[in-house]
């Protein structure tokens, strides 16, 4: 739709109504010295010129081929079936802004209901909401649920949680006045929840059942942040008795897209249902006994509970949730297991081959992983550069978040990393390892000794 500015007549009429002579007269309270005169903008461009300019800018991005991405860290390259965009690009879904009126939006409401059902089944929990913004906010919302439910003011983070999730959690805890602790020794009578990520930020598997038991023994809730694809292979949170399951749904049919929009999901036990944040769609029957879908349990939400609501979320990521629903439906339980298994196999093959290269070893040789794993590398910057030269995006160096893991890089494999790309990566790093020169050691002779 073109943007129509006010014509001179419109402006004059408005000024006359207000009773001033010009737009400048409306601004007399602002000292002239800080008023901008003219906006220094170039002339408009034609469509063709604009495209050329934008393509030129986009061309400056370094874009790696999908199969040469070996970096995860919360956002992943996965194969997205064409069915996903075929459904999500339907204008009925694509152009509508979160329409929740049951009399006008049965299609949207049913799609959300299906999403909730899929997430509940995937996580093994009783009930899931209509979606949240991303994995980080979903985890923070779960922490708030636990604080409100238990009346306790402290949550304990176990293991290596995604550092950005931790930042978001801190942001929420500042506002809501609860405390974040990082040691399992701190789990006690004041703990509202034990939060953990499975697999964790480094790709390692946590003792989810043990952490859940620890939480329950102390009257706290167990909150699991899970990788949805991993649930094709490993036990879902419902099976080890977690109280709340959350996660990032980007892998379910959404492109990385510079980090968003992505998809948060949250699911819980039935008796925590009224603490759930955000929208919930329920199935019901209308006056003629036909099945229909409506928002339900809305009295939880901020527009009714006001300051006492658990959460201020009154919307959802509907289109992203729809993509996830199409993806999960298209894959089915077998497809999901297959994807998770292929990713597992390739990551383990890569780990085995890379650790055969001199100077590369598993950072945690005793820990199990799925498709993402931390390696201690001979030279992080140099190996990243040699991979980049070969068109490969290497693993994620994690030293900037964990000083004790300086020199550790987390590699990731999914089904898009074909055997050929894995071979190339191993070759590049083998050559790079051979080429590494030992840096000269500075002379430490006492003065007077050297000749």
């Amino acid at each position: 739709m073109p943007y129509l500015v006010h014509a001179a007549d419109d402006r004059k009429q408005m000024l006359d109504t207000v009773g001033v002579g010009s737009v400048d007269d409306l601004l007399i309270d602002i000292p002239p010295s800080i008023r901008s005169r003219e906006l220094d903008l170039p002339d408009g461009l034609s469509e063709g010129e604009t495209m050329r300019l934008i393509r030129g800018l986009a061309g400056r991005n370094r874009v790696f081929e999908d199969r040469f991405w070996f970096r995860g860290g919360g956002v992943y390259r996965r194969f997205i079936p064409a069915a996903v965009s075929a459904v999500t690009s339907k204008p009925e879904f694509y152009t509508a802004y979160t329409p929740y009126q049951p009399e006008a939006s049965q299609g949207t409401l049913q799609a959300i209901f299906e999403f909730q059902t899929l997430i509940a089944e995937l996580t093994g929990m009783d009930v899931a909401n209509a979606s949240l913004y991303d994995g980080a906010t979903a985890l923070a919302e779960a922490a708030m649920m636990a604080v409100v439910e238990t009346g306790r003011q402290q949550v304990v983070v176990a293991g290596h949680l995604h550092p950005e999730y931790l930042e978001v959690l801190r942001c929420y805890s500042d506002g809501r006045g609860f405390e974040i602790r990082a040691g399992l020794d701190d789990v006690g009578a004041d703990t509202a929840a034990v939060l953990f990520q499975q697999p964790n930020f480094l790709g390692l598997l946590e003792d989810a059942a043990g952490l859940t038991e620890l939480a329950h023994r102390n009257g706290a809730l167990s909150v699991a942040a899970v990788d949805p694809i991993s649930l094709g292979l490993i036990a879902p949170p419902g099976e080890y008795d977690a109280d709340i399951a959350v996660g990032e749904g980007q892998q379910l049919g959404l492109a990385p897209s510079f980090g968003g929009p992505h998809l948060g999901f949250i699911a819980c036990r039935r008796d925590l249902m009224r603490r759930l944040p955000g929208r919930l769609v329920g199935s019901t029957v209308d006056g003629s006994n036909r099945r229909g879908f409506v928002l339900t349990l809305t009295a939880r939400e901020q527009h009714i509970r006001r300051a006492k609501a658990t959460s201020n979320i009154c919307t959802n990521h509907s289109l992203c949730a729809l993509a996830a629903s199409v993806y999960l439906t298209y894959m089915g339980p077998e497809g999901l297991r297959h994807i998770a298994d292929v990713s597992y196999q390739r990551a383990h093959a890569l780990a085995e081959q890379l650790t055969a290269v001199p100077g590369i070893e598993l950072a945690f040789p005793d820990r199990e992983f799925l498709n993402e794993f931390p390696l201690r590398m001979f030279h992080v910057e140099q190996s990243l550069a040699s991979m980049r030269e070969a068109g490969i995006l290497g693993g994620l160096p994690v030293g900037r978040w964990y000083p004790d893991l300086d020199g550790v890089m987390v590699f990731c494999c999914t089904e898009v990393n074909d055997p050929d790309s894995i071979r190339t990566l191993v070759e590049v790093l083998s050559q790079s390892a051979r080429a590494v020169t030992v840096p000269p050691v500075a002379s430490r002779f006492p003065e007077g000794l050297p000749r």
């Binding site: 009224r274 009295a299 009714i304 509970r305 006492k308």
Partner: protein, 125 residues
């Protein structure tokens, strides 16, 4: 039967041997409509008179519940979990909400039957 007292926020309380039983009034249940959920405190929670001790949710609204008395929560009506409609059906009987071990005497601010009737007649429409 012990005498029933009322609050301006539409709770009622009866006391027997320093154990107070608390609920919401007939007027309140009628105004709320069908009750679908109650959030009630844990046994052992310490309440001051006027403290919010829970939330009652109906198809129309969610409202806070305020304690008419000071004391410790001794019992919570668990049957309301499965059948919250008891509050509508029998607000002064089976629909009671909590029992509280009184901490001292009843406050002076409570209304008697006549006082509460005058209040609700003023509010009816």
């Amino acid at each position: 039967m012990a005498e029933r007292y009322y609050t301006e926020t539409h709770e009622w309380v009866t006391v027997q041997d320093s154990l107070a039983t608390i609920g919401i009034t007939e007027y309140a249940q009628a105004q709320l409509g069908d009750v679908v959920f109650l959030e009630l405190p844990r046994v052992g929670k310490l309440l001051e008179a006027g403290d919010s001790f829970g939330v009652i949710e109906s198809v129309k609204a969610a409202s806070d519940l305020y304690s008419p008395v000071a004391g410790t929560v001794a019992e919570v009506n668990e049957s309301l979990n499965a059948t919250p409609e008891l509050v509508n059906r029998d607000p002064y009987g089976e629909g009671w909400l909590i029992k509280v071990n009184l901490n001292g005497d009843l406050g002076q601010a409570l209304l008697d039957e006549a006082g509460y009737r005058a209040l609700t007649e003023g509010q009816s429409h």
